[in-house]
Symmetry: C2
Subunit: 123 residues, 2 copies
């Protein structure tokens, strides 16, 4: 089996609002990543434990938000069909990861201060 997804945990998983049509958060990004690994929407949904319909809806939202498709799908054929990320989809993941990494790196100090205020450890 493929190692699928294995990433380090971040404290901050940003949600970005662009205009009023697009909002990108950890859920959609994780889903894209899983689709990329599985080459299938339904397989990705199963893997993430969410219903196919919801997965499809999330992706459809992205497609319509950007005006261009984030994944390309095929119904029927080998294995019943499948889904592949478009270049836009790959770039989206890439950019989000870069943003997330930079945020977590630079925000670490203030984050710790916030946790101290709460008297708890973040998990």
């Amino acid at each position: 089996m493929k190692p699928s997804i294995n990433r380090l945990k971040h404290l901050v998983r940003p949600r970005i609002y662009i205009g009023k049509a697009i909002n990108i958060g950890p859920g959609k990004i994780d889903l894209l990543r899983e689709v990329d690994a599985m080459r299938s929407i339904s397989a990705a949904a199963r893997s993430l434990g969410l219903p196919y319909k919801r997965a499809w809806l999330l992706i459809d939202t992205l497609n319509r938000g950007f005006g261009n498709p984030v994944i390309e799908t095929a119904a029927g054929g080998k294995g019943g069909g499948g889904a592949v990320l478009t270049p836009l989809g790959h770039q989206l993941i890439e950019r989000y990861d870069a943003l997330e990494a930079r945020i977590n790196k630079s925000a670490d100090k203030e984050l710790q201060a916030l946790c101290n205020l709460a008297g708890k450890t973040a998990d």
Copy 2:
């Protein structure tokens, strides 16, 4: 009149999860800020256009999450009563602002890239 609230717009308004009892986002912070300016929960709620009950609930969630009160309230008395931020409340705002500023400053480049992907301007 007091200048109330007048802050520069940030693209990223982070929501931080600390443990499982605390989650802090732009809504609660803005509310705290308004309570601080108005010295009243109900006035702050009116100003932000949300029902009193919701405002109170948000604050109560913070109070219980932190184990210590974020604001101090008084029912009855001059003007019917009022609410004042505790030192913890002030620190919370301060820390959140610092985090937000740092995030937005350091993430600007990736953010622009994301907006370019969308072919839109963030607003």
